[in-house]
Amino acid sequence: MKVKVLFFASLRELTGIGQSEFETTEPARLDYIWSKTTGGKAMPANTLCALNMAYVKPDTLAGDGDEVAFFPPVTGGQPRHH
């Protein structure tokens, strides 16, 4: 299974990664994907996660063909539902 992983804005600068690919044999949690992709860097507390362009929580599972994104709060603040 291959998962596309994207980092934006200050998190791209923090991790030094814009885009990466994560390989796994079974669906994996987003926070696990973050850890494996960044070499174990701590995820900042205000990090937002998206799965296939929808806001999700860090414990959501991603699988083959999915697109995962990590980014800081957007310009207007936290989404109300997150």
Partner: protein
């Protein structure tokens, strides 16, 4: 009900008139409300000479299209329009236009504000400002920020 993302400066008033003339039948609406957000040259007590607006292109388009579609239904609009800049922006340049057309003024006013508030809180844009001291990322929990 389109949403456009633009990498270069645009004139929101020309865009508004152009869209209205080409997409809305005269007499089909009784109210038009619009909002234009533009960049200030100061923020957090600092001079700001430039702002770079980064976004997540695919998610931004997806989100804005869905927002426009939902807003038309929610407020019983004839139509709505969103145009948003990204990339390098200079003070004074427009950043965003939201517009709503409806039969009566209440729906147009409410929908125009709704578009802007939803966009600001959920669309994946991030601001990096250039000040006299260098560059910094800005989130609106820190500031009322450079426009909007």
């Amino acid at each position: 009900m389109p949403a456009y993302l633009k990498a270069t400066a645009f004139d929101p008033y020309q865009e508004l008139v152009r869209y209205q003339r080409s997409q809305l039948a005269s007499g089909s609406y009784g109210a038009t409300a619009s909002f234009v957000g533009s960049m200030r040259d100061f923020n957090l007590d600092d001079n700001v000479s430039r702002m770079t607006l980064e976004h997540y292109p695919a998610m931004t388009r997806h989100y804005l299209d869905r927002l426009c579609q939902a807003t038309i239904g929610q407020f019983d609009l004839q139509d709505c329009l969103v145009i948003h800049r990204y990339g390098d922006i200079r003070p004074g340049e427009p950043i965003v236009l939201t517009a709503a057309w409806s039969a009566h003024r209440a729906q147009a006013f409410d929908a125009c504000r709704h578009l802007m508030e939803e966009l600001k809180s959920k669309a994946p844009f991030w601001k990096k400002e250039t000040t006299d001291d260098g560059e910094r990322w800005v989130h609106d929990e820190q500031s009322s920020s450079s426009e909007k």
